[in-house]
Symmetry: C2
């Protein structure tokens, strides 16, 4: 019964027919068609479309869409092409519709714009909105202060459900969306919050305090957005107030923004482990080249280091050329085993699962895993060495080098990220290089060194 | 002014003092102390504590906590230790408190338990709850049907705000938390939804239809949870109904569950790229060893393949041993450049940013990036080769091999994941092996082959 549902394969990729139609609207400069096509498309999808077009098509689209351009697209589009888009828009266009955006979206858009474009935006805001946006911009990037929205619903202590409902229903200036009401002290310190669902399902004479959320948390304005996202995910928060240095409420963060941050941070860790910085698909060739270069340079240094180890053993290699054939196996297996151990450690550090409490146990475990895998692969590669080159001692040397390198790989994969975390360096950024340097150097040294000692 | 806030460094790691106290409570079997310590601790943090303890301490904790054990901890704790914990609990304990859990949490807990433990749980449910849970369990794992909660607030078409509020306020059986009311047709097909915030801020005689959410989406029960999480993040959804094969509403998914899925999926991609499967810090040595083995075996095969390439050139190496010293540089640089290109591609595929629309442009870009970086590094390593070994031709050969390998690396880093995606293999799982095989084989072949042709 359940198997024959056919439309369960929604994939959220952009519909190719839509893309075709948009391209032809741009081609024929058919503004009415474009407007028609975009009528039911979410701004996030229009943003994706803009990102996937090349710069010329993008310009054609913005120019054609012109007066109807939806500013919300700007908060969905990648930072890197925002400047480009804003400079294609007419300042009046921005001025006329910037009022529709929430203060957190404006902050999100404005924070990365160049000064000229930023001024156009800020100039279009009314006084209250401008004050809110500028206040957020005063907080450092990637903090709770940048993430929060200013508008929220606050009530004083001691009220009951009936009073709260009546007050909300008679308020004029409510946020566009809200999920909780916040109860604050006379000094605007947050006390507890009540979800609208709970409020709606309680009798009028129930005290607000008695239906307060069990999981209530507040964030300092300067809290790192990574920690904010972590807390939302860990404690299943939906919205939570932000407080300033005096403990006064200054805004509210909602889960959809926290989810966006969680997604960004996951991307960052993945990219850093892969040795790529903050690059995106819309970057151009030179931008990408420049970003990938430093990592490749570091890798070159470590590769040369490994070569220097090999250079110590040229006589041994000249005597037994099979060593040159087999040596990449030891290094490559060590590199892989190290990356495995490292990946687990970096993720566990990011999710705060690897702590002082269990790190010793995890280190010990990596030692044993390295040793067991090392012995198994020693037997395999030892056999390969023996059957390939008909040399028992060569097989034994290869096997021993494998055990040494896999143990070292496992240990460095956990010890290096732990050490980097201790000195406040992001283990995702730097661990890879160190680990592969260690496994290359140890791998070549163990194999060639043993061979030189035993075989010559 | 903003700099001197000292408490902005909240880190959400478990408080070491708390951990100490819990350990001493277990040691002295002091149940009252434990209860006191856990009074204000979120279940998610208790779950973290359980994960970080070793198995014996975990058993001590569960046994001591015994009758007060909070079942919500089970839905927060890693799947891998759930069985262990459930088997330590007394069935009566489970029966007496399982009623406090939401149906989606029960599904989440029960789906991975062994049959015996599962029966204890299901046996403790009342009839309605049991039906709801079993219905969810009938849907395949990792689908919207497993993620949804059954209870939601539905209203018929044509009502206004006043009617809706009165109806909700007089209902007895509301969900514990809800953020939207869903308007459905007489056949229970979802029509639109209204957020509670919007409902509360509208006049009583306003039609519900006129304050409906602009971004309304429904999910088929069989939709993949990855796509559900993607849509929540892309369209900033807070909650969305799930419909069965006949288009009838069967449940609702809320953003906190979608956020959890997004986090899991990010972890999966990262781990797969690092060549580790579904392992966790609580796994034991043999579990880990077994999980990492297949990946290492595949790597061994590719390493031997690379060795076989080198074996073709033993005469060349015997003649010029400098080749053995320098050859890992070419392979290592190619491997790194390939991983960079691959990481970007895998992430872009996961976020649906790399599509038919821009893939050709991205491929072309990788070619140019590879070429430019290749030429730059060719100059550097050519220089290194020349100054180290005083051999111009050797430097040129090294440089040329570098250009070839970096271009191949860039292209295979994008083409291989694209090809895997086309044939429905997760590019995160398999791409790495293919890419490094290509860069190793091409790296050694280009360098040694050129050397054999030019230098001998």
């Amino acid at each position: 019964m359940v198997e024959n549902i056919s439309d369960s394969e929604t994939s959220y990729e952009l519909n190719p027919n839509l893309v075709e139609s948009v391209l032809s609207a741009i081609e024929t400069e058919d503004r009415a068609l474009l407007k028609q096509l975009f009528k039911d498309i979410h701004e996030a999808d229009i943003a994706d479309l803009l990102e996937q077009f090349d710069a010329d098509t993008r310009e054609g689209l913005i120019t054609l869409w012109g007066p109807d351009f939806d500013l919300e697209v700007l908060s969905e589009v990648e930072e890197k092409i925002r400047d480009e888009i804003v400079s294609l828009l007419h300042p009046n266009q921005i001025a006329s519709s910037v009022g529709d955006l929430e203060s957190d979206d404006i902050v999100d858009i404005v924070e990365d714009l160049e000064t000229k474009q930023q001024d156009i935006f800020l100039g279009a805001l009314d006084e209250t909105e401008l004050a809110a946006v500028q206040m957020s911009l005063n907080y450092p990037e990637d903090t709770a202060g940048r993430l929060m929205q200013r508008k929220l619903v606050m009530l004083p202590e001691g009220w009951n459900v009936g009073q709260a409902i009546d007050k909300i229903r008679s308020s004029e200036n409510l946020p566009e969306e809200f999920y909780h009401i916040l109860v604050v002290s006379p000094k605007i310190a947050p006390l507890y919050q009540v979800s609208l669902g709970r409020l709606m399902s309680s009798h009028r004479n129930v005290e607000l305090a008695s239906i307060a959320d069990g999981d209530f948390r507040t964030f300092p304005v300067l809290e790192d957005q990574h920690d904010v996202a972590y807390a939302f995910n860990q404690y299943h928060l939906i919205s939570a107030p932000v407080v300033d240095e005096n403990g006064r409420v200054v805004g509210v963060i909602t889960i959809d923004d926290a989810m966006g941050v969680l997604d960004e941070e996951a991307e960052e860790d993945l990219m850093r482990l892969g040795g790529v910085g903050d690059e995106s698909l819309t970057d151009r060739v030179f931008g990408i080249t420049r970003q990938r270069l430093p990592w490749l340079l570091i890798n070159l240094v470590t590769a040369i280091l490994a070569s220097m180890v090999i250079a110590q053993f040229t006589e041994t290699i000249e005597a037994i050329v099979a060593l040159a054939v087999l040596m990449p196996i030891v290094a490559s297996m060590g590199g892989n085993a190290g990356t495995q151990s490292l990946t687990v450690a970096v993720r566990a550090l990011a999710t705060k699962d690897l702590t002082g409490l269990n790190s010793f146990r995890v280190i010990r475990r990596e030692f044993w895993v390295g040793l067991i895998n090392g012995i198994m692969f020693a037997l395999i590669v030892g056999g390969v060495g023996y059957f390939w080159f008909g040399d028992t001692i060569l097989g034994i040397v290869l096997g021993l080098a494998m055990v040494v390198n896999m143990v070292v790989a496992g240990l460095s994969g956990i010890l290096i990220p732990l050490a980097l975390e201790k000195v406040d360096i992001d283990p995702a950024v730097a661990s890879s290089v160190f680990v592969t340097t260690v496994t290359d150097v140890i791998g070549f040294f163990a194999f060639l060194g043993l061979a030189a000692t035993v075989l010559l």
